[in-house]
């Protein structure tokens, strides 16, 4: 245990006026009044949702994209605790934290979007729609948020030095990890399966009975990419929070994740092509939507797949991080395509949905709150470095 390590954990930055904080304050100053409008005047006052398009940015981005990009938690904890890839232990905590915050934001985003948010527990306590994919999503997301919370608990307990409670939850790691993978498998795929009931509304190039498994596999890619991208960012921004006694070869971990991402992305590409063949709508590739589909498939699946492979072979961690960003954008694109852009594609342009600026403001506010919460926690709790009391424990 060194002096340096004890100093960095538990003492936040003291400067309040930084460019980042000013921008964040500005976003909150716009976003919070919009949220007040949402809850006092209804969805109609701040969204472009309609009877024709009932789901917009808050479902398409805040929920679908949010859940996919928060997949790093289950992917890394499964790799480390179940597959026994212990070298990757240093990335589990930030990934679980990102996952927990991500899912919390998804839940908050849902509260904004649903008509009567105070009834959120109704599907569990009042009346169950067993035949609804939405019921499965709600049940699994709710349970998984709880699992992530329990998985993260050792961190605040170390911070607070509650050793017995910490030990109790550390011992739950394996069952919690396995439960987390089960719940993630179910709801990541169900978010895609939500659209299986809309064959007439979703463009045939995106509509496929494989939507569920495609969403699940792409969530693994999204999780890996976000961990590569986010840990690269964390290591630059929070370099003072890293453990000087135990320098981790960060680039080696990044390249290991890169190899996994290349392989899974390759499988995902194959599955997308398989789904395309199964749909047998090759003729539609020669349309505007077809071009857009190819942009997603070639530009944001095939290309990052080769770039990941190249980055791994040439030991190029910078290229790996760039590709991770590209892949994450591809996942965002895919979720928005399924839920908004290729949905209701047959309607005339004037009946199509375009988000209201207030919807965009709320989404940006949510992301900002997530980043602020991540920073607040990382600056205080043993997330990026291990706590001085427990270093021998791993």
């Amino acid at each position: 245990m060194s002096q340096a390590a004890t100093v960095t954990i538990g003492e936040p930055q003291s400067r309040l006026v930084t460019p980042f904080n000013v921008v964040a304050a500005l976003i909150l100053a716009i976003g919070i009044p919009v949220i007040v409008i949402r809850f006092t005047m209804g969805l109609g006052a701040c969204t472009n949702l309609s009877d024709t398009t009932a789901w917009g940015l808050w479902i398409g981005f805040d929920v679908l994209v949010g859940v996919a990009l928060a997949a790093g938690g289950y992917v890394t904890s499964c790799a480390v605790y179940v597959f026994g890839m212990k070298a990757y232990h240093p990335i589990v905590r930030p990934a679980v934290l990102t996952g927990f915050l991500g899912y919390t934001l998804v839940a908050i985003g849902l509260l904004f979007d649903i008509g009567r948010p105070w009834r959120l527990p109704y599907p569990f306590v009042m009346s169950q729609g067993w035949t609804s994919v939405m019921f499965e999503v709600a049940a699994c997301v709710g349970l998984y948020l709880t699992v992530l919370f329990l998985e993260f608990l050792p961190v605040p307990f170390e911070w607070l030095r509650w050793k017995k409670l910490r030990k109790f939850f550390i011992e739950l790691t394996i069952p919690l990890t396995i439960l987390g993978v089960i719940l993630s498998t179910l709801h990541q795929s169900s978010l895609g399966a939500l659209f299986i009931i809309t064959p007439g509304k979703l463009h045939p190039l995106w509509y496929t009975p494989y939507l569920g498994i495609l969403f699940f596999v792409s969530s693994i890619v999204a999780g890996l990419s976000m961990v590569i991208f986010e840990s690269g960012l964390s290591h630059r921004v929070f370099s003072s929070r890293l453990d000087p006694d135990h320098p981790v070869d960060h680039d080696a971990l990044t390249l290991g994740l890169t190899k996994a991402a290349a392989l899974v992305l390759y499988a995902y590409f194959g599955m997308k092509v398989m789904a395309l063949a199964h749909g047998n709508h090759w003729d539609l590739l020669n349309t505007g939507y077809g071009a857009w589909f190819l942009v997603e498939l070639i530009g944001f699946v095939a290309l990052p797949c080769t770039l990941f492979a190249r980055a791994y072979r040439q030991r190029d961690a910078r290229l790996a991080r760039f590709t991770a960003g590209l892949t994450a954008i591809g996942i965002v694109l895919n979720r928005l395509n399924v839920s908004i852009i290729a949905f209701n594609w047959q309607l005339p342009a004037q009946e199509r949905y375009v988000p209201h600026w207030m919807e965009i403001a709320v989404t940006i506010t949510l992301i900002t709150v997530g980043v602020l919460a991540f920073r607040w926690i990382v600056e205080r709790m043993p997330v990026l470095a291990e706590h001085s009391d427990y270093k021998a424990g791993h």
Binding site: I114, G115, S189, G200, P209
Partner: protein
């Protein structure tokens, strides 16, 4: 409020989910419905777009709950029309159902079978599917299909996720987006309070031109077929709603192709809930299989680590004992050689000292 079957099932533990899915799935496959359920046959060749049905719908729903149960929140309370019902010009622009209107009539211009350009008016409202997507999509089971054929909505548990609106293939359910605290899904109720007593819906009864016929669905299908057979040039040879998404309570005959009238013509011919059935049936399999696979992987890894650890320990032990033995042997060899060397060194040193002493002596003597 009595305990419904659904609420009772709500108490069933998660372990029962698999069985439930299986039973509901098979119910879907051999669904015969209630064979005597009602329907409406709409003959669009007769409609002149007078909006009388719209007015009747408003009168019926403005201060009444047409979902049958007496409940304040369930009163539809439709507001008065934005444009009076006697102004027919609104039919010229495309309108859809909304939270303020359960049914609308729009004018379309299209060529009929004889090649003649004509105005065709199309009334739309909820189709009341045989197996409604909205009902299967609802996560609180707010929708139900009555045995008379109506698909009705109960706002009591609705959380407002609007999956029903997304799932509906006909773009029918609407939402009260303007309400902050009590928004509801709004759609035609098939005047369930009337149809449950065998009476036609208000719009059907009010129509002055006999466009709509209320009756048992199976008889309406026969009537529709008869009409097509006896007037083959008057109708497109298709009964819209007979097979679309597994069949609907409302059936349409048209003098012009249905796609010219804004009908969705890319619909599947089986009930949409069947699509979801496959996805949901995976759930219990994942719940049962994943713990075994992942737990097994975990144990395999632990075992591999244990073996590796044992091997490492054994190797270290072997190496240590070998090293110790070697060191001992080497030590002895070294010791003896060191002793020999020391002896030799000593002899040499003595010899040298003696020689030097001898050399020094003559010099001293010479001085």
């Amino acid at each position: 409020m009595s305990i419904s079957r659904r609420q009772f099932l709500g108490g069933v533990s998660a372990a029962g989910i698999a069985a439930l899915h299986a039973s509901e799935g098979s119910a879907s496959e051999d669904f015969t419905g209630n064979p005597d359920r009602y329907g409406v046959l709409v003959d669009l060749s007769l409609c002149i777009g007078c909006r009388t049905c719209e007015a009747a719908c408003y009168e019926e729903n403005k201060d009444r709950d047409t979902n049958r149960k007496a409940n304040n929140e369930r009163k539809n309370n439709l507001p008065p029309p934005e444009v009076p019902f006697d102004d027919l010009s609104v039919t010229h622009t495309k309108r859809r159902t909304s939270s303020r209107t359960f049914t609308v009539v729009n004018r379309y211009q299209a060529k009929d079978a004889t090649g003649q350009q004509r105005d065709v008016y199309r009334k739309i409202q909820c189709f009341h599917c045989n197996e409604p997507a909205c009902a299967s999509a609802c996560l609180v089971g707010a929708f139900s299909k009555t045995k008379e054929g109506a698909v009705v909505y109960n706002p009591e548990y609705c959380i407002g996720c609007r999956y029903c609106i997304t799932a509906c293939p006909f773009y029918i359910p609407t939402y009260e987006y303007d309400k902050a605290f009590t928004p509801r899904v709004m759609k035609c109720t098939f005047c369930s309070h009337r149809t449950s007593a065998g009476l036609p819906p208000a719009c059907v009864e009010a129509c002055p031109y006999g466009v709509m016929t209320f009756g048992k669905r199976k008889e309406l299908l026969e009537l529709a077929n008869e009409k097509i057979v006896s007037h083959p040039d008057r109708y497109v040879h298709h009964i819209y709603g007979e097979k679309e998404v597994g069949g609907t309570s409302w059936l349409y005959l048209s003098p012009v192709p249905f796609e010219e009238l804004g009908f969705s013509t890319n619909l599947v011919t089986f009930p949409l809930p069947e699509l979801t059935h496959g996805a949901l049936s995976v759930v219990p399999m994942v719940i049962l299989l994943w713990p075994t696979v992942l737990g097994g992987l975990f144990m395999l890894n632990r075992r591999k680590e244990q073996i590796a650890e044992d091997e490492r320990r054994a190797a270290v032990e072997a190496a240590v004992s070998k090293a110790v033995a070697e060191t001992e042997v080497k030590g002895e060899v070294k010791l003896s050689s060191a002793l020999k060397k020391a002896e030799k060194d000593k002899e040499q040193a003595v010899k040298k000292a003696v020689e030097e002493a001898k050399k020094a002596q003559p010099e001293v003597e010479a001085k």
